[in-house]
Symmetry: C3
Amino acid sequence: MDYRELDGGREFVARLEHGGDWRAQIERFAADEGVGAAFFVGLGAVRDAEFYFYDQTEQEYYPEVFDEPLEVAACVGNVSMLDGEPFAHTHAVCSREDGTALAGHLNAGTVFAGELYVREFDAELHREHDDTTDLDLWPL
Amino acid sequence: MDYRELDGGREFVARLEHGGDWRAQIERFAADEGVGAAFFVGLGAVRDAEFYFYDQTEQEYYPEVFDEPLEVAACVGNVSMLDGEPFAHTHAVCSREDGTALAGHLNAGTVFAGELYVREFDAELHREHDDTTDLDLWPL
Amino acid sequence: MDYRELDGGREFVARLEHGGDWRAQIERFAADEGVGAAFFVGLGAVRDAEFYFYDQTEQEYYPEVFDEPLEVAACVGNVSMLDGEPFAHTHAVCSREDGTALAGHLNAGTVFAGELYVREFDAELHREHDDTTDLDLWPL
């Protein structure tokens, strides 16, 4: 695998705003603070969630929308630059009232409550188009 | 979203004790070590799990108990102060023998085995009642 | 619980190689870089996944193979030494096209794409056989 050693930057804890979008808030924070490379983990709850499932053969994203309250049992993601703007690549595992889990690439979700730990790196990571997967990945 | 930059404190790796409670052990550790702000991630297995699902309309927690052996595929949480004591807000994704996942706010679970990484911050975070959600959240 | 305070070491971000094995790549990286203690989190997608479910009564691992494309919604694990080699204890939560989640101890999985954050510690952790669980755990 390709990897890069990075120097640690700032560390943040955050409380996502009730009623706002989970991913958009992380991106606005990153833009405001000038975060160009970070990983984050988090937990909380959403009122709804839109996952994107990537069809590895068709190489297209297909949305899967759950318009119901869900716990966010685990959120793992990162921030890097895409087309000149911070992009929060966000995956999440959510759960229903009966405990069953739904998970994937979280495109959007209306926050009920959310808590994040953001580990910034003293670097800027850039996503570029990767021909093999048709995804925007890091050339490390 | 509201956020705060924090200075990093100590870092710990931990092995949860077989037969003890997953969350209570984290809180005892935090009390013993004087940890007033931290995030943690972990993995392992439990003999049983009690999740709390938060009804966003009723604003009440409802327990969902699974009295069966489960893998802990992912655990994400944090430590902060609630009513003068360290509280470990703990979410987890568990799985059954057939691989299907159960997830949510982990109130309790009897540890079979567990491994944690704890990132302390050089600060004390306090939870206070939030009227909108009826949850105890951080005023950052 | 048993725990140890560790000094932080290097920090890495990584891009897993398309077509390679998820866990084996982490172990090769750890061997190449001399990483003897670390925690990691990650996200991505795999073409297939083999989970090991540990039967807590029989104290045996049973494989559960999913030969289908899956998102990796959350991956949490650590690196420590087992029999003189770096071992990547890797748990993951995956999801199918309909959003339903599968999770557990990830023994193997063919990477479609993957991104990791690795937090090394300035230490070497060793796994040793634990009689109670019949697992290889850390004596901390």
